[in-house]
């Protein structure tokens, strides 16, 4: 899932202050699960905006809406009338959702309410951690299902480095395990330690962000 966090209210206010009608739009998928931009967070943000602007002597109309997925045309289509009736849209979706609104409603003024942070998973209640950078050429098969690109601070494909101590990463020993310790333990557990005898060649990063903005076309799906 995409993990995000709410922007500081002051930053949001700097964008929406002065608008007479503000539409706060949430997304009930990834950012609802990470409790950043779902229906409840939309309500919290809208309430905060009302309280903050009231203190400034302003009484804008602030409307709350949420859609199932803000990153898809079909789901945001229902927002058309509401967006047209408001001066400003505050999107509580990830960056994809914000840009979907911009592309589908080119006349709308859309501001982001979240900082999109990473693709990850919830480890426990209130804790999310990164698992994938979307490099475009998955190597999880070689490393026991643990991604060295995402989880090693140096992204080493032939690790560990000298900064691994007691199974922890030197970058943040308290919070970060050494990815290569995890890889070793995992490969040992599933009987594939011999995989570590293979030297991994330099990675072709052209499938990642280094090759520029990416686009995927499934010709069998295009009519």
């Amino acid at each position: 899932m995409i993990v995000a966090e709410r922007k500081p209210l002051a930053e949001i206010l700097s964008n929406v202050r002065g608008a007479g009608k503000v539409l706060v739009v949430g997304c009930n998928t990834c950012v609802a699960v990470c409790m950043a931009g779902g229906e409840k967070e939309v309500a919290i943000t809208a309430t905060q905006l009302r309280l903050a602007l009231r203190k400034e002597g302003l009484e804008p109309q602030i409307t709350e809406r949420s859609v199932e997925r803000q990153c898809e045309r079909e789901f945001v289509a229902e927002l058309g009338e509401a967006i047209a009736a408001h001066d400003v849209v505050l999107s509580m979706a990830c960056g994809v959702g914000v840009q979907t609104l911009v592309e589908e409603f080119p006349d709308a003024i859309v501001y982001p309410g979240l900082n999109t942070t990473f693709m990850g998973r919830p480890e426990e209640r209130g804790v999310w951690s990164e698992r994938c950078i979307g490099c475009g050429n998955c190597v999880l098969d070689k490393f026991g299902g643990i991604c060295p690109i995402t989880r090693c601070a140096k992204g080493l494909l032939n690790g560990p480095c000298g900064g691994s101590a007691n199974g922890r990463c030197e970058v943040d020993p308290e919070n970060t395990p050494c990815a290569w310790q995890l890889i070793y333990d995992r490969l040992a557990r599933i009987g594939q330690l011999d995989r570590l005898m293979d030297l991994e060649p330099p990675k072709d990063w052209s499938t990642s962000r280094h090759g520029g903005p990416r686009k995927m076309v499934r010709k069998d799906m295009v009519l």
Binding site: L9, K40, I44, R50, L51, A52
Partner: protein, 137 residues
């Protein structure tokens, strides 16, 4: 800022609610400017409830839940405390002092403590330089 103009008390039905019912059975009533909101459990409290109370005109909110070990949802009281802390943070972002939300645990038998606790918070007014730090929790 002096005493409260309008205060909301959010009380767990398993502790504060029972104390309040016993207190009411003795013929006592809450002052008109105090609104009681019954929570089925402290675990049901959400920071949004607190924000919405302020949006509706409350100038302070008191949350009363069960003592440790007495919560029927085991950790509902501590969850409520977390929600209060988050509500304070959200209110401070808006420019409303965090001390305006109080958190207190209470047992169903603490009938005689109920009103004094509410009144103490109702009249609480920190000194200007302490306003950002003071609270009653």
């Amino acid at each position: 800022m002096g005493a409260s103009d309008r205060m909301v008390v959010m009380g767990c039905a398993h502790s504060a609610g029972i104390a309040r019912d016993e207190w009411a059975a003795e013929g006592c009533v809450l002052p008109d400017d105090i609104e009681w909101v019954s929570l089925p459990c402290g675990a049901g409290l959400d920071e949004l409830h607190i924000l919405r109370a302020f949006e509706s005109g409350a100038d302070r909110v008191m949350v009363l839940v069960c003592n440790d070990g007495a919560c029927q949802s085991v950790t509902g009281n501590r969850w409520a405390e977390k929600r209060v802390e988050e509500a304070r943070r959200l209110l401070e972002e808006v420019g409303i002092e965090g001390w305006r939300v109080a958190f207190k645990t209470i047992s169903p038998t603490m009938v005689t403590d109920l009103l004094p606790s509410i009144e103490a918070f109702r009249s609480f007014a920190p000194a200007q330089d302490e306003a950002s730090q003071e609270g009653t929790s």
